[in-house]
């Protein structure tokens, strides 16, 4: 038996009684039906707004925001949508364009239920056809592996919609953006940090040297040190490999290593076209040394970076995320100030998702996700406490810290502070929100959250102890302000301070002291001993 339905109108009205028919009819005309492209779902509701990527529907459940790219709209109130495939270019660092973005576009197409087909490949250029869930061409994307500098220039010259760079834009480039009416590339709307990376000094596996200081590295690249014996190796000539001066890797290397040492890279070093080619050349040269990206180190040996106080830090995803590895760098994407193509906007939103960050990680770069490391893997912490002679530390203090950190894992989120200050900066505020979100979706049970403050060695030990506790408490208050439900019995939040006793970098340098002024985030098991 099938029955005819009575006249129906939007549920927003249906919930009330005594609504006049004429009003209902008028609003019913605003109803739209949204059909998902996979044919699995049909939505209906009063169209409240549409901004090009989201439909807002008034429904029986309240306002719903529907991803406009996953549905088609039926009804008189539907906006007119241009379904012509967009065409845009992404240009920049060869390693990032070929090694990350081609895979990112594939992952993005899978995420939206479509496909990404390479339709053309020649030289440095790859053309990809992006299909949506209904197998319609949504965009034609040209990937141009032309280097960071050219990628940025291409956005300024309107030849690309997105620049992928292993370095931040220079002042001159920012000025060029402004001169071309392309806005401010350093603004939040135009600049995206999508991954982290590190510059690593590499040698052949047969080279006995295990670590090198930043100062020695600068002297080697400047041509002042030319024999391995001067940096702890055999008596033999050093063959130095580097990238072109305008490559992102060279620019960052100059910024982080050469300029602080007041030196310039020698003109006589051996140049390679790409980071990967550099790693290959060094790996096969027992006397070679070079600096490349962590992601491109390949078969070469990665040297630890040794500070002036003797602390050695390895480049690992964790030390890079915590910014304790001194040669870390961020990877950037830049757009101009015009409205980006819709599919590019979606791709940039996708960059923030775990699926996209997994692609970044698979490519050898460091993703932006929060990771944890057990206390057992924190050997550097104890080594550094003993190695450094400028910190006031006693064995009972170390014992107390060790007891606190037993059965605990450290998060890669680390809050840092200006000298003598306990005020959180803008990045720290972002990290507070990230931490609160992580806790809200992590099913943490039988744990407690420890916020542990540390200082540099400037000043009196007792004062530093108080300052470290004050910083930890500041973070605790900020966290509770964002997530008031935290701190309950489910997850107690404790603020501790250990002063200057656990440096992770040398206090002799500005950067080392900055690294040491921190509040670490630990998750500790709530241990109940059996009787």
């Amino acid at each position: 038996m099938t029955k005819q339905s009575p006249f129906r109108w939007p549920a927003t009205l249906a919930l009330g009684t005594g609504v006049c028919l004429s009003l209902a009819t008028a609003l019913a005309a605003q109803d739209v039906t949204l059909n998902s492209l996979d044919g699995e779902l049909t939505l209906r509701g009063e169209l409240l707004s549409y901004d090009g990527s989201v439909y807002v529907l008034g429904t029986v459940f309240g306002s719903l925001e529907v991803n406009a790219f996953l549905v088609t709209c039926e009804g008189e109130a539907c906006p007119e949508i241009d379904t012509t495939a967009e065409a845009f270019a992404i240009a920049g660092s060869s390693g990032l364009v070929n090694g990350v973005f081609s895979d990112l576009i594939t992952a993005f197409s899978a995420e939206v239920g479509g496909a990404a087909n390479v339709t053309e490949q020649s030289g440095d250029t790859t053309v990809i056809s992006l299909l949506d869930e209904a197998q319609r061409e949504a965009a034609t994307i040209t990937l141009a592996a032309v280097g960071s500098t050219q990628g940025i220039a291409d956005v300024i010259a309107d030849n690309a919609a997105l620049a992928i760079s292993t370095r931040a834009v220079s002042q001159a480039e920012a000025q060029a953006f402004a001169n071309a009416g392309k806005g401010d590339p350093t603004s939040e709307g135009q600049q995206t940090i999508f991954a982290l990376d590190a510059l690593v000094a590499i040698t052949s596996l047969s080279n006995p040297v295990r670590a090198i200081s930043e100062a020695d590295l600068a002297r080697i690249f400047a041509g002042e040190v030319t024999n391995w014996a001067d940096v702890g190796g055999p008596s033999a000539q050093i063959n130095v490999y580097g990238r072109a001066a305008d490559s992102g890797t060279s620019v960052v290397f100059n910024e982080l290593v050469m300029e602080p040492a007041g030196l310039r890279v020698s003109d006589t070093i051996l140049r390679t076209e790409t980071d990967a080619a550099l790693a290959q050349a060094v790996a096969s040269d027992p006397l070679g040394i070079g600096v490349t990206s962590l992601a491109d180190a390949g078969d070469a040996k990665i040297l630890a970076v040794r500070g002036v106080c003797g602390i050695q830090v390895q480049a690992t995803p964790f030390t890079i995320k915590t910014e304790e590895y001194p040669l870390s760098r961020r990877l950037y994407a830049y757009t101009d100030n015009e409205t980006a193509p819709a599919q590019l906007t979606r791709l940039m939103q996708f960059l923030e998702t775990p699926a996209a960050q997994a692609v970044v990680s698979d490519a050898g770069y460091v993703d932006l996700g929060i990771s944890f490391q057990s206390n057992n893997e924190q050997g550097l912490r104890y080594l550094a406490s003993i190695l450094t002679d400028d910190v006031e530390v006693t064995l009972p203090q170390l014992r107390e810290m060790t007891q606190s950190l037993t059965a605990a894992d450290r998060s890669s989120i680390t809050f840092r502070f200006a000298l003598g200050s306990s005020r959180l900066d803008a990045r720290a505020q972002d990290d507070i929100v990230r931490l609160a979100n992580l806790i809200a979706t992590s099913d943490i049970s039988n744990k407690e959250l420890l916020l542990i403050g540390y200082t540099d060695s400037i000043g009196d030990g007792a004062a530093n102890l108080a300052l470290s506790q004050q910083r930890a408490e500041e973070v605790r208050q900020a966290l509770l302000a964002v997530a008031p439900s935290l701190g309950s019995d489910d997850l107690p939040v404790r603020a501790l301070g250990f002063g200057e006793i656990s440096p992770l970098s040398c206090n002799e340098t500005d950067n080392g002291r900055r690294i040491n002024r921190r509040v670490e985030v630990w998750l500790r098991d709530v241990v109940t001993e059996s009787r």
Partner: protein
């Protein structure tokens, strides 16, 4: 079957029917049936039905047309078609039989019988839900709305008729409305377990149906997503890192709030070593096909047995056991739970 002919044949029975079913206090026959005893309960109900007991008529009518409340019990499976008809249906003077629900034509329970008999056959689910809600068969009305949404027809839910606004207030819909009204849309396993709403499970499952187009991915914790997989009957697809002991404990807690999940817990509690068998509840969902099937374990007619009374009865557990036995893999080595193995074996 032609409704008019059925109605004409049932006039005599209609005269015999009392006005309404008793609520709260059940007859001995209903109690016997609610205890899970088909062999004695169904004949006793048949006697009461012939004597004009509406509750017995409603139950038998539903058992006859909807196997879930009766399940595929050994007793019913052992009957011939004729024996089954004689037991469960009204027998006309010419020996033909009629479903008891159709004998209510011409009585004040006609709308109730009509709604109960035809709701699965009506091609317009909202009409069915509306008809059921009008005769206070709320759990069935909710089931239809839930199934409609889960089949992807949100548009039909949106087009609820204006003459029945209460339909928009059924449990799971209220839960979803509350979710969208909340500023905090992240849900962790612990916050979900702490939620006291008995309709949170169907609400969450319906919400997950909308997850993709509404961009809600990432709002649910890993542990909660694993629990959802279990409830959907996909426990065998969990990653190897899944904490099965916590998931089992989570189902126990859910059962304290959601009486349907509580039926699963009570079934697994039959086994003496249930505390150590953390796979029982998880695999029960897997075998029966998830919470959707569990929603079908419900009172045959709330006018005869309230939803809560039915779910609290042994009948509900018996029905679930019958479902598990009927849907279990023939190769018992694929059944990971020792409790389920023994329950299935006992029925063979």
């Amino acid at each position: 079957m032609n409704k008019n002919l059925i109605a004409a044949g049932a006039i005599w029975v209609a005269i015999m029917n009392p006005a309404a079913a008793q609520q709260g206090e059940f007859s001995d026959a209903v109690n016997l049936w609610l205890s899970g005893d088909d062999a004695n309960g169904l004949p006793a109900l048949a006697t009461d039905a012939r004597n004009g007991d509406t509750a017995a008529q409603l139950i038998l009518g539903q058992v006859d047309r909807d196997t879930i409340p009766g399940g595929y019990s050994d007793f019913l499976l052992g009957l011939t078609r004729e024996e089954r008809a004689q037991l469960l249906r009204f027998v006309n003077s010419d020996g033909s039989t009629v479903n008891w629900l159709l004998t209510l034509q011409g009585t004040e329970n006609a709308a109730l019988g009509d709604a109960l008999f035809w709701y699965e056959a009506n091609l317009d689910p909202i009409d069915s839900a509306s008809d059921l809600q009008a005769v206070d068969e709320i759990s069935k009305a909710e089931w239809i709305l839930w199934r409609t949404l889960n089949n992807g027809f949100f548009n039909l839910i949106q087009a609820l008729p204006t003459d029945n606004p209460e339909l928009a207030q059924v449990g799971f819909m209220t839960w979803i409305t509350g979710y969208f009204a909340s500023e905090n849309r992240t849900v962790s396993l612990s916050s979900f377990l702490a939620d006291e709403s008995p309709e949170k499970v169907p609400g969450l499952l319906a919400l997950k149906r909308l997850e993709r187009v509404l961009g809600l991915q990432g709002n649910f914790s890993v542990g909660l997503n694993e629990l959802i997989e279990v409830i959907r009957g996909r426990g065998n697809r969990l990653p190897v890192t899944a904490d099965l002991v916590t998931l089992d404990a989570s189902l126990t807690r859910l059962g304290e709030v959601d009486p349907r999940v509580g039926v699963v817990n009570r079934m697994c509690d039959i086994c003496p070593d249930s505390a150590a068998d953390y796979q029982c509840k998880i695999q029960t969902f897997e075998i029966i096909g998830g919470y959707e099937t569990l929603l079908a374990v419900r009172s045959p007619a709330e006018a005869a047995v309230s939803s809560d009374a039915y779910l609290a009865s042994d009948r509900a557990v018996t029905s679930l056991v019958n479902l598990v036995r009927g849907r279990a893999p023939s190769d018992l080595t694929r059944v990971r739970s020792t409790c389920l193995q023994s329950l299935i074996t006992d029925g063979q």
